[in-house]
């Protein structure tokens, strides 16, 4: 029995927001009479922590403590429109909606604060829930006092709304060319993995995974790391374990329960290293870019390369099961070359190609 170690890397990019834009999210904010902040938005928190991230954005935009902010995303009667939680749009686009709403509320707080303090609002700032004269910190009034005065004296509900919406990018159907960027920002990542391959059984274990993500600005680094680590395990599943159709394209023998569908579990967890880079986006909240979806994209190719580095075979049909590794090792041992060269064309995977499976009268094929 021989165990072989190998290393591989991959570098990827991923867009923020819905392809070709549009993609609105809206939010509105009202102040309670003690200055506490109610945010109503439609962004569903599917476990990624968007409510916490949005609260952080609102707290810093307004200049109030984080625990003053309550996010309500509970229903379509009170919450404003949101396209939805997909397309890695929650932090960037949903975040911009709550930021824009908070900027309007901030302006109104400063205007009323200016009236009460008899100071130009431009000379005021909000720090930790207090409106303070710049350069004269003794001249100040609490945001709660301003909200109370608005409610009981001025007869006003301090509120604000925000909409994040981008122009639609229309495309030329012949060339795919677009006139404006068809996304909001692009995030980048790289992943390095180390694997151990058992030459006798074909079993592959990921020993270590290092990952670098450019997220523009990590609004909450702990939750960014949560996305990276969770995504790493989903990527490991994609690369090595999971398959709805074990005999694809046949749909026989589908796994209908946890015992017959191999998802990654704690025993598959490798040593994980996360590195966050911050190359800010032009128009994301506080320079943020997306992290959500891309987090499971870099691992499968890095694993495939590491397996090649370990035992010298390519498996390009995912997942890379022990059976596929053993078949590839057998083919290699039998002297079957991994590629065929004709003139200057080097052709891998000929047996998988559409040209090896379709009939001569096929309407679409792939020729080089």
């Amino acid at each position: 029995m021989a165990m072989h170690r190998g290393r591989g890397i991959a570098a990827i990019e991923y867009p923020t927001g819905m392809n070709q834009n549009g993609d609105p999210s809206q939010a509105w904010i009202k102040l309670k009479m003690d200055g506490r902040v109610d945010v109503f938005a439609g962004t569903v928190d599917i476990g990624q922590g968007s409510k916490t991230v949005h609260s952080q954005i609102v707290a810093d935009t307004l200049g109030v403590p984080m625990d003053w902010v309550t996010m309500d995303t509970s229903n379509t009667d009170s919450s404003a429109f949101c396209m939805g939680t997909f397309a890695s749009r929650g932090t960037f686009i949903g975040g911009n909606a709550v930021r824009l709403a908070a900027e309007k509320v901030r302006s109104r707080i400063l205007e009323i604060g200016g009236e009460l303090l008899e100071i130009d609002p431009g000379d005021l700032e909000i720090i930790d829930g207090e409106v303070i004269a710049k350069g004269s910190p003794d001249k100040k009034i609490g945001v709660g006092d301003i909200a109370g005065a608005a409610t009981f004296v001025k007869g006003e509900l301090i509120s604000g709304q925000g909409t994040a919406l981008k122009d639609y990018a229309t495309l030329d159907p012949e060339t795919g060319a677009v006139t404006i960027p068809p996304h909001s920002a692009i995030s980048y990542a790289a992943c390095a993995v180390e694997v151990e391959v058992d030459e006798e059984t074909g079993d592959v274990r990921v020993i270590k995974m290092s990952q670098v993500y450019d997220v523009g600005c990590a609004i909450n680094p702990t939750m960014v790391e949560g996305q990276i680590e969770g995504g790493a395990m989903q990527g490991l599943g994609l690369g090595l374990l999971e398959n709805c159709y074990p005999y694809y394209p046949s749909n026989d023998h589908r796994g209908g329960q946890f015992g017959s569908y191999l998802a990654p579990s704690m025993e598959d967890l490798p040593e994980l290293e996360c590195i966050i880079l911050e190359n800010p986006s032009a128009d994301g909240p506080f320079g943020a870019k997306a992290i959500g979806e891309m987090a499971n994209n870099a691992q499968p190719p890095a694993i495939a390369s590491a397996i090649y580095d370990a035992v010298g075979v390519w498996v390009t049909e995912l997942p890379i099961t022990p059976e596929k590794v053993l078949r590839a090792l057998e083919a290699k041992a039998a002297g079957i070359p991994e590629s065929v060269t004709t003139g200057k064309v080097v052709r891998y995977d000929e047996a998988l190609s559409i040209t090896s499976h379709q009939s001569a009268d096929a309407a679409v094929t792939f020729a080089v």
Binding site: R7, I9, A10, A11, I12, Y14, P15, N19, G42, V44, D45, I46, G47, K51, T52, I57, D60, M66, N75, D77, C82, M83, G84, T85, P173, T175, G176, I180, P182, I186, S187, C191, A192, V212, Y213, G216, A218, E242, P249, N251, R254, G256, Q257, N279, A282, M294, A298, P301, S305, W314, T316, E317, L318, S339, Y348, D349, I354, Q358, S359, A362
Partner: protein, 456 residues
Amino acid sequence: MKAVGARLPRYDANEHVSAGTRYVDDVRIPGTLWAKALRSPHDHAEIVSIDTSAAEAMEGVHAVVTYKDVHKNIHGHIEGLGVPGDEPLLAETHVRYKGQPVAAVAADNEELAVRATEAIKVTYKELPSLLDVRKAFDGDAPQVHHWGNWYPHFEGEMDRRQIRKGDIDKAFEDADVIVQGVYRPAAIEHIPMETQVCQVVPEAGGRFVVYSATQAMYFSMGVVAAHLNWPLNKLKFVGGTTGGGFGGKVDTATETITTLLAIKSHRPVRWRWTRMEEFLCSSTRAPWHMEIADAVTKDGWILGRKMLTLHDAGAFARFSPYGVTKHAFHHTGAYTIPNLEFNGFVVYTNRIPTTAMRGFGVTSVSFATETHIERIAQTLGMDPIELRMKNATRLGDTSPNGIPYVDPSTVPVIQAISNAAGFELPAHYRTMTSAMRSGEDLPAHLVAQMGNPEDH
């Protein structure tokens, strides 16, 4: 204290791990009925007849619905983005995948609801099925839809998503080597801990409250309203807390049928899929078939790429045309390739429709392009990291659809991963930045593709 950048705990973390969070299935409303669906046992068949009379006559069965109960049975979830609907909410004349809902019932309890679905008599005439996307274009291939086996409604009524950039023929002529390969990631499940679930409650004034696990409340409300031809004020979605989605809960899989049952029975109705249904009848990530041929020079420049992508959509389009477009826009990965010929097809097969999942459209192409670049390096006998750095997107390089990159980070992420994992980079690449190309980093073949990042 600054909140942005702080390592703050999630507001709901304690509740999630101590069973304190109230999910859709935790909502208890007295008098709630159970829903169950009768699903197709065939991959592909014509429906000769549906007889629901025996189920309707059962005591404790309060509603049975078929396609006849739906105002607009075929509604595409992204009709607003120009993708016409092709999927019936409940099967009408044909079933096109095993597990497709044909009818649904609401009964006093779960067991009775199962027995009621078994009492519905459906006569089928089986048809040949198509499962291999590589055979979809054959003259004698089984036909999934009467209009054919691939989606015909991209802009300009084109039957494919195309990218054409630069001069692909010249790139292939000029190449020293052409490297070709095939990449096939599998379908996988979303596997949320919470299966598809919703509850619909009739309220005073004719409104219906939908307790939903959707990832997109307004989107799903729009889908239900479109099927029913209702204004939005007749519905209230209550949600925002989801027990795992990963893309699979954008499908609005349960809300419309459950609302139909609540309307017909005048009772609250709950539909919670079993784990078996979640595995066998819910949508999956798509399997993809990708073929790449790259025109490269001996010193490691990628001059051009030809690519064919077949996206196995399953029986209906759902979000697949959107996914293939996104895939096309990112088919050069984190690199600059100036000459492109890309053709992407949404191919129908007689399997469960595929849908969005984390990385939609791009997870597949990341696998293909990154594995392919390793093979190019191997063919050339070159360091794969050096090959990546050379072709890495830089400020002002343009994307497949001709937009200059304004915030590229391929260079710094590769530098950082090389440091972290102990890969040695040559000096030139240790000091490289994402700045606009010049000198030896700007060969003649990359000049024409440059754009001005200030334009955007």
